[in-house]
Each structure stands twice: as C-alpha cells, then as structure tokens.
C-alpha cells in the first residue's frame, strides 16, 4: 500500500486529497509517517525510522501504524 501520488500534506499535518476534495487533519506523528511514506519507502523502514527517532516500543508502534493505515485506506489516501 502506498500513498496516492497527488495527496498533499503540510508540515502541520493537513492532508488534502485533490481527487475527491476531502481534507483531513492528523497530528505531528501522523504527518511524519505520511511524509515518510510519500518517499515511497517500505513500511518496515517507516517503523525503523520512527522507532530510532522516538522512545517507543516497536510492537506497540507497529500495531498503531496498522490502525493508522486502515484509516488512511478508508479515506482513500492509500492506493
């Protein structure tokens, strides 16, 4: 699953889907994840990057990320 190419995201976490006209807000961590995913890297690399940067349990992060991915899919942010 990758982020749709035309999804726009600001540093503040405001996401805009120009295909549907929908817009969403996410927090700083969510924005960081989306920005990482826009670089077309593997999800495992997103996990490694975030776990190296923040003091977070890897299993817990992976679970939260999975939930976040489901939300992004629901909102047609992923393809």
């Amino acid at each position: 699953m990758t982020i749709r190419k035309n999804i726009a995201i600001s540093d503040e976490g405001f996401l805009f889907n120009p295909t549907t006209g929908d817009s969403f807000s996410t927090n700083g961590i969510g924005a960081e994840i989306v920005l990482l995913m826009k670089k077309n890297i593997l999800l495992s690399e997103v996990v490694d990057t975030m776990c190296n940067k923040y003091d977070v349990d890897k299993t817990l992060f992976e679970r939260d990320l999975e939930e976040f991915m489901l939300q992004l899919k629901d909102y047609s942010i992923l393809e």
Binding site: N6, A8, F16, P18, T19, T20, G21
Partner: protein, 351 residues
C-alpha cells in the same frame, strides 16, 4: 470572421438573481470583468425588480426588464430591439434554462441585428434534455440513470414495477425530490406539478458522490475548458454553498467526450454522480453556465471570458491547466438600495 474587441464591448447578461438558489449572471459578469483582454459595458436583462444584480452598479452598468419566457419570442424580440436601439448590444449571454429556447429561436434574427450569441443549437439543446437523457446516454455510451416520463397521475402506480425506492421525482426545468414510498412519490408529483407543470421525470436513485463539471465547448467538438468541482456545503435546495476544484482526469475526459459527441457550443454544467463502484453517471446536463462559474476564472480557466472571445470569432486554444484545491464559499450580503431605484425599475422597466 474575428471581430475587433479592443473597444468597450456591450454585453447583455441575464440571470441576475442572487438568492439562495442563484442565477449565474452575477458570476458570469464578475468573470468577464476580470479579463484583462477587453473592456465591457454590461447590460443586465432582468425579469423581476428585486433581482440583486440590478442594484450592483459596479458590475452592471444598466438594466432593462425583459418579458417572461412564456410571453414568447415576439415579445422578447420587441424588447431586445428597443434595448438595442439604446445600447447597441454586441453580445447576449442568456443564463436561464427556461429562456434559452426563445434566445435560440432568435439567434439568426439577432445575428442580422449585429448581436452575437454563443449557445448550443436547438438539436444539441434538446438532445441533452432531461426527458431524453436516457436515450442520449445509450446513444453515446454514457452512464445515465434509468428514468420514466410521467404525463398523468395514474402512471405512478406502475412505477414500482420498474424502479426501487428511493426514486427521484424531478421537474422539467428545476427541482428534484427523493421519495421513499408511493405516498411520497404522489406528494412529490403534486408539488412539482404545481410548480413546473407536466411532464414529470422519475429517475433511478444513484448513491455516490456528487461532482459538478463546468465545461465550455467551441461548437466544433473541442472542449476549451473543463473544471470539475465537488460541493463541500449544500443548501436545503441541493445548491452548492461551497465547493472545491478537483484533480481527476476521468471527469475531464467525461466532459470532453460529451462535448465531442454533441459538438456543444457555449457553456454547460454536467451534474455527475460518481457511484460507489466508481461509475460516473450523468444525472443532468444544464445547458448554460452554473452559478459557481466564477470558480473557473479563479482556478485559471476563465470560461465566461473565453466564451466572449469565441462569440467574437477569436480562436481560443483549449486550456490545459487549472489550480486544484481552489475553494469558493458563497455568502449572503444585504445590499442596500433606495426606493427611487426600485421605482425606476418597477415603473419604467429600466435602471
């Protein structure tokens, strides 16, 4: 032949009402006035004394009342001749569905008087009519909802054989009511009958996301401009109170296909329902600019100004880009005028 438009051109525009279900006239004028390529004198053509555009003197230089469409082409022509003598009109842009037929009938006569128009032909106009939309879709391979034209009350009883609830009950010009039972169908029938007369259209209800597309055709099959918009805020009449331009090539291709199939001349609005399985159903084709047309100018494709250029014989190249994520938010404004102004338009039919 291309006509010189370096002088201040005189353009008459209808549709100056700007209520909660506004006419497109004020937006059309705003877009035309913003074009740096020509200067204009705008003549408003109104039906009623309280159309807000009449009193917007920074947009409309002078207004004349014209007869209602039901008065027919002779009455309209008589009035246009009077206005033309005073104003030397060069172009008329009609913006109401109900008046288009009369203006189309008068196209040649207007041309002889030196007044240009840029509208679809009667054949094009009638092919996309609500009452023929299903046939039109079948002929040109567009997704359109199934429909039935109702001429009398007793036909309603047969509907349940062909349609599932909810059904959409529509007037021949405006209005649509969603009905979830036969009782609601009957109620909607009478409500629309009293307002718009017969026939009434019953249409299959398509669930999905509503997208509106403003398009401009050159009459030779080329789409000069296509701007898709999604309504972000809808009034209780289903009109857009806010909307955003979209980036979706499939809508642009749909409008291009429509314009190519019809060789559409002028502005139009495709009302599209994108079903949950991704099919774009054409729900309706409005044969004129929509009220939100100023958004096309704001997004970089000034459709009304391009129409003016084409009406004067200029070749306009199709636009290729526009700004995605451009938003309009409509607002209501209490325009203050004076009894003397009201008296002028009510008593003399001019302001």
């Amino acid at each position: 032949m291309s006509k010189d438009i370096k002088h201040k051109i005189v353009i008459a525009v209808t549709g100056l009402n700007a209520i909660d279900s506004p006419g497109p006239g004020v937006a059309v004028i705003r877009a035309i006035r913003e074009c740096p390529d020509f200067e204009v004198r705008i003549i408003g053509l109104s039906y009623e004394s309280l159309e807000p555009g009449l009193y917007m003197h920074d947009l409309v230089d002078k207004t004349y009342q014209i007869p209602y469409p039901t008065a027919g082409t002779d009455a309209l022509m008589g009035r246009i001749q009077y206005i033309h003598e005073k104003e030397n009109l060069e172009l008329i842009i009609p913006n109401f569905d109900a008046e288009l037929f009369n203006f189309m009938k008068l196209r040649d006569a207007l041309k002889k008087m030196g007044i240009a128009t840029f509208m679809p032909d009667l054949d094009q106009f009638e092919a996309r009519d609500k009452m023929k939309l299903f046939e039109f879709g079948k002929k040109h391979d567009f997704c359109v909802p199934k429909d039935k034209i109702i001429h009398e009350f007793r036909e309603l009883a047969q509907l349940e054989k062909d349609f599932e609830y909810p059904m959409v009950i529509k007037g021949k010009f405006y209005d649509a009511i969603i009905a979830n039972s036969m009782e609601q169908v009957e109620k909607a029938f009478y409500k629309i009958l009293s307002k718009w007369g017969l026939p009434i259209i019953v249409q299959e209800f398509i669930k999905g996301t509503e997208i509106n597309i403003a398009a401009l055709g050159d009459g030779e099959g080329n789409a000069i401009s296509v701007i898709p918009m999604r309504k972000l805020y809808i009034t209780d009449k289903g009109k857009a109170w806010a909307g955003i331009t979209l980036d979706d090539e499939s809508f642009i291709e749909l409008a291009q296909k429509f314009i190519k199939a019809t060789k559409w001349r002028g502005g139009c609005e495709l009302e599209v329902m994108l079903s949950y399985d991704g099919k774009p159903y054409i729900m309706e084709v409005n044969p004129r600019f929509p009220a939100w047309i100023y958004l096309t100018a704001a997004a970089g494709q000034n459709q009304p100004a391009s129409l003016v250029k084409m009406a004067f014989g200029q070749k306009v190249e199709p636009f290729t880009e526009y700004e995605v994520g451009k938003i309009f938010v409509r607002y209501a404004w209490d325009l203050i005028t004076d009894i003397r102004e009201f008296q002028k338009i009510s008593g003399n039919g001019e302001l």
